[in-house]
Symmetry: C2
Subunit: 463 residues, 2 copies
Amino acid sequence: MVDPNIEALFKPKSIAVIGASEKPGKIGYAIMKNLVEYGYEGKIYPVNIKGVEIKIGNRVFKSYKSILDVPDEVDMAVIVVPAKFVPQVVEECGKKGVKVLPIISSGFGELGPEGKKIEQQLVETAHKYGMRILGPNIFGVVYTPEKLNATFGPTDVMPGKLALISQSGALGIALMGWTILEKVGLSAVVSIGNKSDIDDADLLEYFETDENTKAILIYMEGVKDGRRFMEVAKKVSKVKPIVIIKAGRSERGAKAAASHTGSLAGSDKIYDAAFKQAGIIRALTIGEAFDYARTLSNLPEPAGENLVILTNGGGIGVMATDAAEEAGLHLYDDLDELKVFSNYMPPFGSYKNPVDLTGMAGAESYEGAIKAALEHPEMHSIAVLYCQTAVLDPRDLADIVIREYNASGRKKPLVVAIVGGIEAKEAIDRLNEEGIPAYPEPERAIKALAALYRWSRWKARGR
Amino acid sequence: MVDPNIEALFKPKSIAVIGASEKPGKIGYAIMKNLVEYGYEGKIYPVNIKGVEIKIGNRVFKSYKSILDVPDEVDMAVIVVPAKFVPQVVEECGKKGVKVLPIISSGFGELGPEGKKIEQQLVETAHKYGMRILGPNIFGVVYTPEKLNATFGPTDVMPGKLALISQSGALGIALMGWTILEKVGLSAVVSIGNKSDIDDADLLEYFETDENTKAILIYMEGVKDGRRFMEVAKKVSKVKPIVIIKAGRSERGAKAAASHTGSLAGSDKIYDAAFKQAGIIRALTIGEAFDYARTLSNLPEPAGENLVILTNGGGIGVMATDAAEEAGLHLYDDLDELKVFSNYMPPFGSYKNPVDLTGMAGAESYEGAIKAALEHPEMHSIAVLYCQTAVLDPRDLADIVIREYNASGRKKPLVVAIVGGIEAKEAIDRLNEEGIPAYPEPERAIKALAALYRWSRWKARGR
């Protein structure tokens, strides 16, 4: 059953911004601006003790001096006032009947035991009124299906099927920027900060049944209730893949993490074992995490083990083959069946897998080969590789892939790697915008496909 | 001693393009265009059997019907005519006294024993006249210090200190595009194709003493004379670092490579051992190769083992620390000396290495900390990490790094990682354009720095 308070974090009918500001540069302004400019369609009520007018583009908001003055129900109240005013504001939100409180304000548990105590009192107050708290010490929340961007991070988040949860504020905002730059589509971004109340496990449970989320990516520094988190993660993993980045693998790294987060050092092996048991896919770097997230949040599960690699360059075909073998993927090798590809290559091509359409391969070769691979019942997953040549503009290849993959109903996993210059980069962006995982290197495409296989196999084993 | 014929490949005083064309879209036009537009300052003589006029921008070239008609000495003749005309053209070049012949034309050894034989005859003819052949089956040659771009690949190669050698034509052109997109500075690009005459070893020997080249990157499919290559590589490695990408590591990959190049399968372990012995740094992917090439071609060798990591985010600091420990780098840990950094951080920062300047770190914090690290005699290498925040525009950080690193005389290795969105990408590009290796992820910066350490240690051991 979905917790209605947590649902209000993603699908609020109305939002108050307490500590909203009329001054560009202030966080209380940035949140108003993102709410308006990202196109949130519910009601927005700025609350500002001086009752200022706030202009965003050509909209003017009259602010209320207290949330209690708002003449309407409020589902979510984003709190941006200085720490010392937060307890009173939480109390007022309770009286108003708000459901959920993302508390942006910092100056609580992260400062030490004193702040921690105040934080716990906030949670007690919230629970007394049946409210939940996200944070404090966060940058906000995004939910793209509702055009909700209640953060002071970047505005133009690309909609998609990946939910991103970040414990770190600074890194979380940086990662939002990264997803925009790299065309990673997101369903949600949640900054969980001090996790005084709502934590990773609560969010996993929400995303488990959220129809707009297909995969979850967590940047984690530490867990409070490890047992609960692992139990929930194991359950959710059976339904949707979870990728985690958790730094602190090495001895020195773990020590640095301990001094940074106050969590115990030396516990990384325990995390690692627990992640494996829960079916969590651990990514070692940010890049790897998003590489995996692209396949996991966009592609269907493979119906079998047979991978076909289509390429116009022997070299990149071999690179992909190395990566496939190293990642435990099986190259389909029924030569009778692979012979179908000989129709789409010159005589000196090779239909052995990796299928080498040769450097002469143009639009028709690729189109025919991709279609054949999509149609063949024994070819379960496809990697399309392209080394930029003068024969075929990579952007045209992108269009061919998009057209054929859509026409096929996207029933099997397909990844793309295009090596080249500016046009290759544009082609990659175009594919990713369409939710077809595309990469600038063959190995990255294959490793990301392998992550999908790994999750799919784990899920099947666990049943 | 430098072979004058090979020197003519990079520093020709005059160039003939035999098979030059007036038609855009033709290779014989593309080469003329690149020569002119990249700014080659020597003389260019198009040769075309019909004697056509060739217009490039507002320059008009009258072509000669034969190289023998050119009223001047010709150092290099780029040959683009169909295979069947090549033997005669080579003969004429010999009579003309040309020094070196990049043969773009394909249709020789790559087609089988028949073509191989003709190829060998071409080499015999060339040698008879004291000429050398590059290729055939190549896309040409670039040497940026002479503004020489005699390829049909992209035009705007970014000047720098890395020499790129590619056995694959298609991949080589794609990699040229990649270096432009990713701001990797090049001294040279050489397509070696069928290697009928000039091979990797010849080129390594040239680059060993080339004052414009600081590191060499080879994309290799196979070697002909393995013993000579390894001997030369070992000698050159003592002077300049060599990075090699050679696919075919896995069993299946090696088989695919064998069917693609005709080289022996299963020999990868031998290559790997030989590379290690010769001090060659093997990169497993294209991305890794260029990551390494950035540090190796731009940075001075470290004077010692002490690495200092400066960061504004605990999380990315921990990631970098993990990567450093995994790559065998030593984090400087003299707390008395590290205390200098406490001057550049708020009270809740941490001067322990990784030095956490905190999320509040602005221009002054970074400037002070970078300066202190550059000046300190016991801090031998520096990694500057930045997680994009609203406090400091990453482009401003880039400018600070460029200014301080230049002011210090670039005497110790410094790498940068900036995690974030579009502004972060711009900052990274700006740094790379200035020859300061910058990456979008902390681990990549650290691994690339580690490649420089590895090479430097190997060199020291061998003495």
